[in-house]
Assembly symmetry: C2
Homo-oligomer: 216 residues x 2
């Protein structure tokens, strides 16, 4: 983040709005670029171009490429967690099956609007790296633990399919995100356009139906 020359006792001047805007533009552009071409395959100039910003501003705002990656990943994952949590809270009074279904729909809807989320994981999953390690401990493990716990309960009630709950969780995750990461190709192969909300809804319902066959 932008270093400021802090004078001794003086209160530092506050961050300007235009700064926040360019940072956000850079973060969006970075996420898009990194998810398309991976960390190594993405140049800071490409990111700056997508953001419509001069490339030295990356150094200014984020120190270097690695920090920019981390900030971009943090942003999309935080929003994602918030989105899931919101769905979870909204369905708090509901029965267990409906609670989980609500989260699954939120997952699909978020992945449809932000396919970069899953693409980023796939890019980093191609090889062990410090970035993957960070992603796992910071974002994925907490998410996994929370969802697996709920899945277990659903399995005991016969609502979710039997088997290793961790495996089931990952299956679910790969399904929701994976199909949307393939959106461009699927449109070409099968003519299904996930830009159309009705197709995303159909996908969500199919996933719910397949993974939560039991009723409560």
């Amino acid at each position: 983040m932008a270093e400021m020359a802090v004078a001794e006792g003086r209160a530092p001047r506050k961050q300007q709005q235009r700064s926040v805007q360019t940072q956000n533009k850079l973060l969006d552009a970075a996420l898009e670029a990194f998810s398309e071409n991976g960390f190594k395959g993405t140049s800071t100039r490409d990111i700056a171009d997508r953001a419509g910003v001069h490339h030295p501003l990356i150094t200014y705002h984020f120190k270097n490429k690695e920090e920019l990656w981390r900030a971009a990943a943090n942003r999309v994952f935080s929003k994602f967690s918030a989105s899931l949590l919101e769905a979870r809270i909204a369905a708090d009074g509901q029965k267990p099956r409906e609670r989980m279904a609500s989260m699954m729909r939120a997952y699909v809807q978020y992945a449809a609007k932000n396919p970069a989320l899953h693409k980023l994981m796939l890019q980093e999953s191609s090889r062990e790296s410090s970035r993957l390690e960070w992603l796992v401990t910071t974002h994925l493990q907490p998410l996994s633990e929370a969802v697996v716990k709920e899945l277990k309960l659903l399995q005991e009630s016969g609502i979710a399919p039997a088997g290793d709950p961790a495996l089931l969780f990952n299956l679910l995750r790969a399904t929701s995100g994976g199909i949307l990461a393939l959106a461009t190709e699927i449109k070409a192969t099968s003519g299904i356009d996930f830009d159309k909300p009705e197709n995303v809804d159909a996908l969500a319902e199919m996933i719910v139906g397949v993974f939560l066959p039991g009723s409560d």
Copy 2:
């Protein structure tokens, strides 16, 4: 492929075995590299290094980077189709559900041994390109059509879940391949190691159970 200076009437000399070997080494290395870093993010030198071969040999054997990509993709997809077909034939006398289950298991097993198959699709799916177009028309559409046809029948028998069969096919595909494309990350997050055959088997059974709930 290696051009040869064909003298008028003379029969051209046959290809040497060592040539085939280096071509295969290059194809394997290319597939690995392209699936990890995408087309743009992969250098021909990287491929040559992985193959343990001098990089000008790429030009010699494959003309250029694009042709090498195509040859590598062709190779893995052809093997894949053959593998599916084999499973299909082996289960030819079985009931419809068991036929499909057999293909699904083959899909998972192949994807586990060749995660590059799915990673390559994901890489190319990040943006429209001539390569994606080629992949779709040459390999994906034929596969899709064949499987969708069978899925429809299973849906009519109540064995497969209802809904758009094309959507179901893609769900299935994204599930099988997608989870194995995430193998490195899943091992770190959940401790599930898909290098162990028993975990791959468990995955295959879970997929069959989830997507073919009905019995015949």
